[in-house]
Subunit: 373 residues, 4 copies
Amino acid sequence: MRPRVGVWLFGARGSVATTTVAGAAALAHGAPPAGVVTAGPAFSDAGLVPIESLIFGGHDVTDTPLAKQVERLVAGGVLPPGLDGLIAAELAAAERNLVVLPSAANQAEQISLMASDIRAFRSRHDLDQVVAINVASTEPPYDVLYDDLAALRSALQDGNPLPGSCVAALAAFEAGASFIDFTPSTSIRPQVIRDWAVERGLPFGGQDAKTGETLVKSVLAPMFTARALPVHAWSGTNLLGGGDGATLADPLAAESKNVSKERGLADMLGPDVVGQVHIDYVDPLGDWKTAWDHILFSGFLGVRMTLQFTWQGCDSALAAPLVLDLARLSALALERGHVGPMPFLGFYFKDPVDSTEHSLTTQYDALVRWVQS
Amino acid sequence: MRPRVGVWLFGARGSVATTTVAGAAALAHGAPPAGVVTAGPAFSDAGLVPIESLIFGGHDVTDTPLAKQVERLVAGGVLPPGLDGLIAAELAAAERNLVVLPSAANQAEQISLMASDIRAFRSRHDLDQVVAINVASTEPPYDVLYDDLAALRSALQDGNPLPGSCVAALAAFEAGASFIDFTPSTSIRPQVIRDWAVERGLPFGGQDAKTGETLVKSVLAPMFTARALPVHAWSGTNLLGGGDGATLADPLAAESKNVSKERGLADMLGPDVVGQVHIDYVDPLGDWKTAWDHILFSGFLGVRMTLQFTWQGCDSALAAPLVLDLARLSALALERGHVGPMPFLGFYFKDPVDSTEHSLTTQYDALVRWVQS
Amino acid sequence: MRPRVGVWLFGARGSVATTTVAGAAALAHGAPPAGVVTAGPAFSDAGLVPIESLIFGGHDVTDTPLAKQVERLVAGGVLPPGLDGLIAAELAAAERNLVVLPSAANQAEQISLMASDIRAFRSRHDLDQVVAINVASTEPPYDVLYDDLAALRSALQDGNPLPGSCVAALAAFEAGASFIDFTPSTSIRPQVIRDWAVERGLPFGGQDAKTGETLVKSVLAPMFTARALPVHAWSGTNLLGGGDGATLADPLAAESKNVSKERGLADMLGPDVVGQVHIDYVDPLGDWKTAWDHILFSGFLGVRMTLQFTWQGCDSALAAPLVLDLARLSALALERGHVGPMPFLGFYFKDPVDSTEHSLTTQYDALVRWVQS
Amino acid sequence: MRPRVGVWLFGARGSVATTTVAGAAALAHGAPPAGVVTAGPAFSDAGLVPIESLIFGGHDVTDTPLAKQVERLVAGGVLPPGLDGLIAAELAAAERNLVVLPSAANQAEQISLMASDIRAFRSRHDLDQVVAINVASTEPPYDVLYDDLAALRSALQDGNPLPGSCVAALAAFEAGASFIDFTPSTSIRPQVIRDWAVERGLPFGGQDAKTGETLVKSVLAPMFTARALPVHAWSGTNLLGGGDGATLADPLAAESKNVSKERGLADMLGPDVVGQVHIDYVDPLGDWKTAWDHILFSGFLGVRMTLQFTWQGCDSALAAPLVLDLARLSALALERGHVGPMPFLGFYFKDPVDSTEHSLTTQYDALVRWVQS
Ligand SMILES: NC(=O)c1ccc[n+]([C@@H]2O[C@H](COP(=O)([O-])OP(=O)(O)OC[C@H]3O[C@@H](n4cnc5c(N)ncnc54)[C@H](O)[C@@H]3O)[C@@H](O)[C@H]2O)c1
Ligand SMILES: NC(=O)c1ccc[n+]([C@@H]2O[C@H](COP(=O)([O-])OP(=O)(O)OC[C@H]3O[C@@H](n4cnc5c(N)ncnc54)[C@H](O)[C@@H]3O)[C@@H](O)[C@H]2O)c1
Ligand SMILES: NC(=O)c1ccc[n+]([C@@H]2O[C@H](COP(=O)([O-])OP(=O)(O)OC[C@H]3O[C@@H](n4cnc5c(N)ncnc54)[C@H](O)[C@@H]3O)[C@@H](O)[C@H]2O)c1
Ligand SMILES: NC(=O)c1ccc[n+]([C@@H]2O[C@H](COP(=O)([O-])OP(=O)(O)OC[C@H]3O[C@@H](n4cnc5c(N)ncnc54)[C@H](O)[C@@H]3O)[C@@H](O)[C@H]2O)c1
Ligand code: NA
Ligand code: NA
């Protein structure tokens, strides 16, 4: 019999999380799985858990009802009109599994309270596996000062040495859940957090889903390389509204995003490519993102040429099917007893853990190889 | 000792041919090999013939001096200022190997005269191998009515049953040369022409180099497929001047190009994608091409999104290094005794012989595998 | 007291007509008049008829209910969700004034039947004025062979010498209505049709509303002129779905549109600018239009530069407020006793009657001057 | 007899200045005056000084020979190949009039030394008029603390209270020259500097020539206004290399530019339009600028639509003919005895002195009216 799988979302009332929960429900009602990579034939023999059997829960700092978020996303054209009525029952069920982030005297206690929430979810639904995914607001960069587990554990007793994303990762590990970071936050970057996962025998992956401009980059940059065309400058401007846009209007949060966005380009094209990447908050765009990229390259005998592209996408609608993919693939990793980083999930991320491979096709092949292995 | 290789160009005074000859000379004078794929590390152990040792000759219908074409290309920004002076000796050497297309009573005689020209080139330069490449003006589509060799041979005695590109291919085969079609013309499309090559024990490849819009398509279409994002419409407009633009202003010639441009999209995305491709002659653009593509796709739950790109390239500067690649790779195929179609060269073509694979990365991998085999 | 004004639409169940009727109703319910030029301060003292007092009727060849069309436009994102409920009463009222195009033995009879329909509308609603506007499908170009009224009248008795748009114009004139052509069809192009209007003492205007690509052209072309920058090539591609797109997929209908689209450019920039304009039917775009234009110009000492733009608009939402403007302005012209062509409405049209002025600002100034005169 | 006119350039060895001097010489050799607005028929009866009779001089901080700058601009495709040879005599003549910026104990002395340089130029060439134009590097914003002439004069004796652009303006006024600021620097912004000009009975104008993105804005924004289409967001990214680009890579200098770029939009569309403008230094673009703008607006009943444009221009080739225009128009103003600000030159500037009108057509009409008055 197939294992019962629960998906625990940090940031469970945000746009990505809401679209994920609503979308899974829509699929159960017969919507076609557009954008769900694991719905393709290459994945059909892997015994992945069916999307309609996934059970959702999660933490968030706000308590705005999921149904209200769905309404907002329908009005914004992210979710189809009429969906709210159709999936009312599924929304109500998920709503019951959402918990407001507990507060505590120190982070040791907070981790323990959060892990309890996850464990309660697990036993309430009699789950075999819980896969945790961080879709909370992007944090500013953060230096974690502890690099052995003992020192960290004692610091956690005394105060709040970690950013929220690290706390979330540790809570997942304490509850026996795998952890994926869909954001560029600190979470599993510090070695000490990774050590903790390994100690608990759990897999982790991330970071920062590639759903738009960076996705396109990850096929265009290899094209220039394959054709031996030197790239001189790659410049980009991203316009976005929505909650994510509002968060990234803070230059510190944007810095996390930018670092992660730029990593791939240097890995793919070398360090000599100049150009900046801008992220502008444009409130009236709502959940829509527009990215313009300008690439200056040269051909034979130094002739200068350009490629420009404009991507106009609905971020949450691009992200949600990938969250479903990652939940299914994490469950497979748990089942296979995989421990530590999951570089074979690099296909999904701007800044893949334990990998400097950014070419989408190569990443896709690696993913399929792992699934079919 | 390395074999001496001659490159025979049909259309030897056109922009692509001139840029190829001038570029090879520039490389011999130390210009970096930007755009030459076979200059990369993956090809360094294959024993490919060095570019600077290639010897050029060819047929054309006009007799405008090469030096004059180079001048025009320098004025148009395709070739760097000052190049003409630097490479005067190489140009003069190539000029001596260019022959005006002979005329004859029937095509049997014409093939034989053209083959003699190629054989004379071979013996004059004491060549071990001759690789022929068609870079002549694109022809309108043409139905070749003969499908066995005997019937064709007798028709050739009586008149002119073939378009120029087929005649060129047969002349190459009669002279023991390999043949690559860089254009979408008829050349090696008919089975009977392919049979002729096999009878002579020679390799052939093509067709229609992908250097711009189609190149970008061949990485973007696989991206949509890999991410399971349904593409609804793909529309494109190509603006170009130059000799190629003037030829394609003829709707019949444009039809050959369009058929070849559209093949890949259907192979990559299936038959349901709507959208037209336009090729507009815009004389004041000179040798520059601008392509705009608009792609309408949908994400999760049917949300519509778009990707647009604008490619601004100098066609001849993109094509010439590929002609050099194809010359080197054809020489390798001859050396290895390869007979018949060369699908492993699909990386270079919009409409690869004997292959329906259009994804650039997959094609690149296949090419490298063949070279390293 | 203000005159009671009726608006008679040819093509009354199409997208533009439906959006016009629905939009007028929405304004009556308090929606802000975005896109309605005559709602601006420059028009406030002219005594224009209030939009909410306009009464709608019209002819169409189909009888699909208006309410159903509204539903389709809401689903396509042209009209806001929920509008259908809000304006049900107004839709029902308009529905009662819609008549299926009568058929008749010859066009003399058809004109008379259609004029009766309009007169019945006038008396049913006790209207002081009726303004007719053609928003029916674009027709192919048509040569009208009669150039005096007597000859035309006798031909009409005998058969069908005119295209539908001319018949519509004559029916309007017979019913004492003004006539505006929002389309590029033949309608008021022939001198004999204009003579008929003058004989009846009525004003007419048009043709082919400028709502997208051509609107942008009408400010960009004057910019190049004002700055003395020579334009060499102007190329454009229009992608559109919807009913209008389906009609224009017929090359003959597209020809009418293209002629009208290209007129302005030559008038503004002279005859030496090369470049083509494409109109592609892309069904999955629905009522949305995307236009890409590429302009090649040169600056000081001949340096080549480019401007490209991409316009993504919802055609009916751009057109409907202009239909309301034109209804109000036609009523003013009737009130002022204006007879014959109305060149002062050139601001609204790609191919303005009796005018070669295409610069939007100049046209705007002329419009305001007339209104305030 | 026509007056002899000298043009004094601050920043006389920069790209704009060099292109101006070289371009005037090219016109004298018969090049067509593309981009020179005052070469048009509307200006032919105004008795403007002929371009070929203008005599050039100026200050710069460097002493790189003009001929070398011309060479660099030819290599960069800004000036046509071969121009250097053709205009060698004119370049040498201008070279003799270029002076390195003097240094002095305080700014009173520096102004006096610079004014002497200008007076020497005037007498050496027996000039009737000198028009000064600032085309030096853009400065950071600067607060000038003195607001009456006496206080300023005494501060100048004691030290360096002014930025270089104000010093340049005062030196021009002291030498009896008119002054135009082609840049967004402080120069004539402070009231006290304007008072100084008025005291000397001289005209001044500026600021910050509109040659690219802002030029396009100044016709597109009025289009939205004329059509009553609400604009919600206007975002822009400018990529440029060259000396100007290197200067604007300094965030302080960029601030001056941004303030001036953004002024027009608020004046034209009101304060509610959101969006940022970026200026990125992309060294490999050389003297070329690429600007991408994204405009989010809505139509009838709130439907969201977008317009995007990409401008690819050669800045100096766009600027130089305007410098020639401004020299001729300044000479006319001097001849007419105009004193104080010249708002009728607003057509040329992003941030016109004494004017909030930014619509290009309206500005053009005002310019022509003044010239013909
Ligand atoms: N949508 C995409 O395409 C995409 C791609 C890559 C990365 N991401 C990342 O995914 C994340 C979510 O994006 P979104 O559009 O849903 O944003 P959002 O602002 O709509 O949602 C974020 C949610 O996180 C909650 N939150 C904030 N701090 C929290 C904390 N400490 N613990 C738990 N919840 C917390 C917020 O209350 C909010 O409900 C962002 O970090 C974004 O950068 C999204
Ligand atoms: N440049 C690219 O990126 C690219 C890409 C794909 C395909 N191609 C194809 O390469 C070909 C060459 O392009 P180009 O830009 O050099 O065009 P071009 O017009 O400059 O050159 C074509 C040359 O072929 C000659 N020619 C015509 N008919 C001939 C015949 N029967 N035999 C021999 N010579 C003949 C012409 O005289 C001319 O010199 C075209 O068919 C083009 O479609 C080019
Ligand atoms: N929407 C714009 O921005 C815009 C701009 C310029 C011109 N136009 C023109 O406006 C017209 C309407 O556009 P639309 O998008 O509403 O198209 P549509 O196809 O939705 O509507 C056209 C309507 O005309 C009806 N019709 C066809 N022949 C008729 C006839 N002989 N008499 C009466 N009705 C007839 C059709 O049944 C249909 O209901 C088109 O000609 C279009 O080219 C539209
Ligand atoms: N090119 C355009 O389209 C355009 C449009 C608007 C404004 N501008 C402005 O015009 C100016 C010139 O642009 P450019 O491209 O020629 O730049 P540039 O960097 O090539 O030239 C600037 C010149 O000014 C000189 N300079 C610096 N400080 C000076 C001082 N205090 N006094 C005298 N000279 C000094 C520099 O040495 C240099 O030679 C810039 O401020 C630019 O922002 C240009
Ligand atoms: Na790839
Ligand atoms: Na205008």
